[in-house]
Structures are given as structure tokens and as C-alpha cells.
Amino acid sequence: MGSTSLAYLSNNLIYSSLFVFTITFFMHAIETAWSIRGDESATRTNVFDRSKTEKVARIATALMILGFLLLLAGVIVRGLSAHRVPWGNMYEFSITGALAFTGAYLAALKKFEVRWLGLPISIAVLLVLGTAITLLYRPSAPLVPALKSTWLVVHVSAAIISGGVFLLANTIAATYLILDRMESRGGRNAWAKRLPSLEVLDQLTYRLVAFVFPLWTFAVIAGAIWAESAWGRYWGWDPKETWAFITWVAYAAYLHARVTAGWKGKKAAWLCLFAGSTFLFNYVYVNVWGTGRHTYSGL
């Protein structure tokens, strides 16, 4: 197959994954809606009726896996069509980022009880993929010389995986804050009752950040090593570098805050949200409006 038909195939795979994620979203929405009804009777008997929602939730997870696989194929074929890793522009970062985000969720699902995250995750993935397809799409093209390096694979993959996990941690921290507010106002709403306790959410956020912080550190250092060979300096306070540093500092502060008493829970969750938003800001601001050396051929 030629490059053009491969690029075309990649587009179709990505569209298909978008379609599957849309159904996933509806399945998770139905699951959440049903669990509210199931809950009303449950408040009296204190037993959750999960028989109905369980089936829907399993379908949703199966669809999420299918969507992930389609997206994975789409990303790989995109790379094949351009004869390089598919990380040359913002469209490609976005589809890979959505892939990393879904992957982080599915991996977490194996270890922790996080299926309740399905709804926010599917919404987020739909948003990222939708923006990528409509606003950021660029035809498949070769890399500019500065990107021609093995470090592209190392640096960008570490950054994208970190980003996926950071966003997952952010989703959980945001859930924490919403639930904390509900509880302080007299109790959780019906739909929120099946979600884990605040303590579990707090702990989960911390573990995700602690897991991925070394990887993010590595991503920054790999970027520095690459910058040294491409631009002659390993650190130049380029906007992207500055914001990567700010994200690093914010997460370092979060980790320190967690070990210092009195910073657990709400404060830590806010700090985590702040740190995650610096990452998102870096991605959007520097690529779209920013100047500096991390902006390549039209996004």
C-alpha cells in the first residue's frame, strides 16, 4: 500500500474509534443513569442493585477496549504512512494522547476499581479526538530536520504517557473535590453513591502521580539531551521547556505536600488539578499561540 492509501486507512480507523467511543459514552451514561434508579430502592435496603448496570458496564468496557484497539491501529498506520513515529504535529500528538489516556484507564482498571471513571474518560477522549479530527488535522508528511532523531521516540513517548496518566489523576482529583463538596453539604447525590470513598480517591490520585512523576522527569531530561544535540543547549527557557518545568515543580510540590501532614485531601487535590492544568496549558498554549522552538509546521 502506498503512503496516501495508508494515511486514508488511518483516518478511517480513527473515525471508527470515534464512533465506538461514542457508543461507549452512551453505555456508561446508561450505566450511571440506571444506577441512580437502582439506588433509590437501595437506600432503604442498603443493598446496591447492580445486576442491570453490571451488564451494561461490561459492554461499555468491552467497547472501550475495542475503541482503544482501533485507535491504536489508526496511530500505527498513521506512522507507517509517513515512515516515522506518528508524533510530528499536534494532530498526531492528540490522537496518541487520547490513546495513552484510554490505555492508562484500561491499565488502571486491571488493578483498581475505577470503572466509575468510564463516563468522564469517554467524554474526555471524545473531546480530544473530536478536536484532533476537526481542528488539528494535517495531511501525513515527513518530519522537519530538527525532529529527525531517536530522541523523538524516547522523549515524546515518555511525555505522552505521562500526559495520559496526569489527566487520569486529574479526573480523579476533580471527582474527589466534587464528592467532597457534596459530602460537606449533607451527603452524596444518588449517582455518586456507588463511587469510592474520598480516602480511596485521594490515595489513587497520589499513586498515579507517584507512578508517573519519574517518567515525566525522564521525559524532561530526555528532552534536554535532545535539545542539546539539536539546538546546542540543554536548557534555554523556551516556553515549552518553561512550562514543562512548571508542571514538574507543581507535581513535585504535590508529592511533598502529601508527605507533609495537613495537605492531604482537598488541598492536595487542588494542587494536583493545578499541576495537571499546567500540563494542559503547555500543550494547548505553546502549540497554538506560543512562539519558541517547539512549534513546528502549522501546529
Binding site: 530536520p145 522527569t217 539539536a230 546546542g232 515543580v249 507533609t260 499546567t278
Partner: protein
């Protein structure tokens, strides 16, 4: 934390300050301040990165810019307030980490703490039904097998594991100090310079060869590596669909000492050339039109390549040619168009970055170039305040233009130029080693569990644990231990 009864005088005051500075809370605040302090540098243009943008900012908002300049918002990363934050953080870091390292060093071989009286208040407390005479020995066997540190107490054993967590933690913070020292030593012991060199010309590593050169405070000019480079060829490949560059290849014949034996070397964007601790990077490229200027009697006044600066992605380039040796003086403001195209709205423009059909557009000025005033001038700009325009012409290669019967200019051709960045960064290795150790320390400290296990024989056999870092896994270990004791 601070002591409220402390008298705030003399030594006590400094001790108080020092304790405040090295407290975790202060470190945390400083860390956040460092992050927040870095933000303005990414929003406002910085002199170190883009002096042109700063000048533009001054032109557009002169009043605001002047105030912002007082706050050093155009030199954020070199500003006193930013330095203050990181220096305080650095001191706080040292003040916190060094005593802790010493404590940790002393604790090598320390025994776990005594068994608490009431084990049932601890985590995962359980009573094990087994033979109490062999329980301790069995437990010790299991704990030793799993490499716990053990302390024998009367009728009980205390065990602890996971000292590596603190080791990793300290390694991480000490490595950060190494990184900072590496960065600092580069800025005083290193050098960095840039030079635009035409293909076909020779670059000799001497101060005069540079367009700009920044030396570290303790870097001596004699220490510049005496290498030389003769640039023989430069090849740029572009994508035919998007016009984006695909590859740049610079070929040069390099010798370690001036006039020494030379070797052919290839320099690419991601593979610089290395001379000892000095590296040569390929940073930018453009075109230098080759021109010949003669006066009205046909005598040669100027001949050579003049670098023009690229203005867009298709390398439409702008520059000036100054001829001070004619009377009155002559200056050309020119555009070099590598692949000439023409449209009604844009006039002449370049439609491809490679020089497929080059043109040179020239405006000729006559008068005073203003070069005698002693104020250094940009070679890319012509001060036309004391000059008048006497002609305008588009030239293809080989064509000549006779301006105002004063002289002629011939467009002989072009040669590419490259911008070489030459850097000597002696602290780089330290920063790298520090970074690698930092990640290692981080991994050790984040993934090591520190936990204690006690086993006690009283009326019954009791086991309990204490996990210090809230990472799960202790429960499983205690189950393993109790099963082990039971089944022995």
C-alpha cells in the same frame, strides 16, 4: 517547626530564620514560587531568546514596557528576584538534605524500634494460633529470608525493612544539587558563540570569527579550541508537497589545529561536530547572493557573497549591500527570491525554498551610509535617512544593472550560508549524571515501602505491622508470615 518561646535576638534569631528556611513548608512555598516565577518568562518576550520581539514590545507600549523592564520581566531567568527564589530554595535544599543525610548515614546498621506494648492498636494485628515456643524462631527465619532488619527483645522481635526509601530520597535531592552545580559551572567556565559562514569559506575558531560570542566569567579567550572548518557543501532537501524542510547536510573539512591535517566531516541538525569539549551545531541556513560592483570606469569595487536573512518559510531573504568606497556612497537594499513567482496581490515572491529560479531585487540608494559615526550598524539594515533612492531592478543570474551612470552591479549567482553555533559546556556531564542519579533516587524512594513488623509472645502469639508510606503490600506480608509460622 518553629519554637514559639524562642527569643528573637542575635544567634537565636538566625537560628530561627535558618530553621524556618529549611522547613518543609518553606521549601514547598519556594518550590511553588519558582514555578509561578517562571511563568512571566514564557508570556513576555525575553532578551536572551528574542531581542527583536522585546524591541517591538518597547515600540508598541513604551510606558508599560519601561515599568516591566524595571521588574526585569524581559530577563526573567536572570533577574534578581528569580535568582533569589532559586538561591533560597538551593540553600533550603542543602540545609535540609545534608543534616538528613548525616542522620541517615549514622542510622546504617541501626536496629528497629522496641516492640510497642499494645500491638492490637497497630495495623493488621492478628493472633496466631501456633506453638509459642518455636514461633519466634520461625518468624525470625521468615524475616531473615525476606531481608528485614531484626531486633531481639525479650519475648518479641521487631523487624523493619525499606531504609532504601530514605536513601533514594536523599540521593534524589543530592543529585539535584549536582545538577545545579553543573548548570552553574557551565555559565562561568563555558562559552557560546554564533557565526554565519558562507559555503566555500573557512571558519577559524578565534574571537574575530564570531558574529556574537558570550564567554563565561572565568573562560579565557586563549582556551578557544584552535580548530578550523572549511565549508565545502550544503544540501537542503524540501518536501515537494508542503515545502517543509526534510533534511540539511553540511559537509566540511575540519582540522583540529589551524592548518593541520583535515578530515571530511558531516554536520546535521541532530548530529553536531565535536572538537574535544567544544561542539559545533548547525542552526540555520539561508542564501548569500554573489555580486560584483564596478564603478563607471569599470574598476572593481566589490565582489563577493553577502548573507541575506530568510523572511519566510520559502526563504525569501532580505539584506543589504553597502559600498562605502564609492563617492557618494552607495547602498543596496535587496531581496533574494530563490524560486521566483509573481502574483497580483503579493508582487514577486518565492514559491519554493530551493533556489530553482533565483532573482535578486535591488533598490539602489545614494548618499551617506552613516558608517563613519562610530555607532555600530547592523549589516542587514540600511539607514536611508541621508540617502536617496536612485533605482530599482530585478536581476536574474548573470544580469547586470547600470545605476544612474554611477556604476554597475552584476548578479553572479548565489551560495548558501549556514549559521554555526559553537558551544563549550563543561558542566554538561555533571548535569547529566546528576539527572540520571536523580531519576534513580526518585524511583527508589517512590517505590520502596518502609514498614515494620512485630511478633510478640505473651498469653498468645501476636503479629502486627506498621506501614510508613501508605503503600499497600504489608497486609499480604503479614498473612505470609502468619501462615509460615502456623505451618512450621
Amino acid at each position: 517547626m518553629s519554637d514559639n518561646t524562642l527569643e528573637l535576638t542575635g544567634v537565636g534569631f538566625f537560628r530561627y530564620l535558618w530553621r524556618q528556611l529549611t522547613s518543609m513548608r518553606t521549601a514547598l512555598i519556594l518550590l511553588l514560587l519558582l514555578g509561578i516565577g517562571a511563568i512571566p518568562g514564557s508570556i513576555f518576550p525575553q532578551r536572551t531568546q528574542n531581542p527583536m520581539k522585546v524591541r517591538e514590545y518597547f515600540n508598541n507600549n513604551p510606558d508599560v514596557a519601561e515599568w516591566m523592564d524595571r521588574l526585569k520581566l524581559f530577563d526573567v531567568y536572570g533577574s534578581p528576584w528569580f535568582s533569589a527564589i532559586y538561591l533560597l530554595l538551593f540553600i533550603s535544599l542543602i540545609g535540609c538534605v545534608l543534616p538528613r543525610s548525616w542522620e541517615h548515614f549514622k542510622a546504617i546498621g541501626a536496629k528497629p524500634p522496641l516492640t510497642p506494648k499494645n500491638l492490637n492498636r497497630l495495623e493488621f494485628h492478628r493472633v496466631v494460633e501456633c506453638d509459642s515456643t518455636t514461633a519466634l524462631a520461625n518468624a525470625e527465619h521468615w524475616l531473615k529470608k525476606n531481608r528485614f532488619r531484626i531486633r531481639h527483645n525479650p519475648n518479641s522481635i521487631s523487624a523493619e525493612k525499606g531504609y532504601a526509601r530514605e536513601t533514594g530520597n536523599l540521593l534524589f535531592h543530592l543529585s539535584l544539587i549536582v545538577v545545579l552545580v553543573g548548570i552553574g559551572s557551565s555559565s562561568v567556565l563555558g562559552m557560546r558563540g554564533e557565526a554565519i559562514v558562507n559555503i566555500g569559506e573557512r571558519f577559524i575558531n578565534a574571537p574575530t570569527s564570531y558574529d556574537n560570542l558570550a564567554l563565561g566569567r572565568f573562560f579565557k579567550v586563549e582556551n578557544l579550541n584552535p580548530f578550523s572548518l572549511t565549508l565545502t557543501n550544503f544540501k537542503a532537501e524540501y518536501d515537494l508537497g508542503t515545502n517543509a524542510p526534510i533534511d540539511y547536510t553540511l559537509t566540511a573539512s575540519a582540522s583540529d589545529v589551524v592548518d593541520g591535517a583535515s578530515k571530511i566531516k558531516i554536520i546535521k541538525v541532530n548530529s553536531p561536530l565535536t572538537f574535544g569539549s567544544t561542539r559545533v551545531f548547525l542552526q540555520a541556513n539561508g542564501y548569500s547572493p554573489l555580486v560584483t560592483v564596478r564603478d563607471k570606469s569599470g574598476d572593481l569595487i566589490f565582489q563577493g557573497a553577502v548573507p541575506f536573512l530568510p523572511q519566510d518559510a520559502n526563504l525569501t531573504s532580505a539584506g543589504t549591500i553597502k559600498i562605502p568606497d564609492m563617492d557618494p556612497q552607495i547602498g543596496f537594499v535587496g531581496s533574494f527570491i530563490p524560486t521566483a513567482d509573481r502574483s497580483a496581490s503579493r508582487g514577486a515572491f518565492s514559491s519554493f525554498p530551493e533556489a530553482l529560479d533565483p532573482r535578486l531585487l535591488l533598490s539602489v540608494f545614494q548618499g551617506d551610509l552613516g558608517m563613519d559615526s562610530g555607532i555600530p550598524q547592523s549589516v542587514y539594515r540600511l539607514d536611508t535617512s541621508k540617502m536617496e533612492r536612485i533605482g530599482l531592478k530585478e536581476l536574474a543570474i548573470g544580469e547586470s544593472y547600470s545605476f544612474n551612470s554611477v556604476g554597475t552591479i552584476t548578479f553572479d549567482g548565489y551560495t548558501p550560508w549556514v549559521n554555526l553555533q559553537i558551544v563549550r559546556d563543561p558542566g554538561k556531564q555533571y548535569a547529566l549524571v546528576g539527572s540520571i542519579l536523580a531519576i534513580l533516587g526518585l524511583l527508589i524512594s517512590l517505590f520502596t515501602r518502609r514498614r515494620r513488623i512485630w511478633i510478640k509472645i505473651g498469653e498468645v502469639v501476636e503479629v502486627a505491622g506498621l506501614s510508613k508510606n501508605n503503600i499497600e503490600g504489608l497486609e499480604k506480608e503479614i498473612i505470609d508470615l502468619t501462615t509460615w509460622i502456623k505451618e512450621r
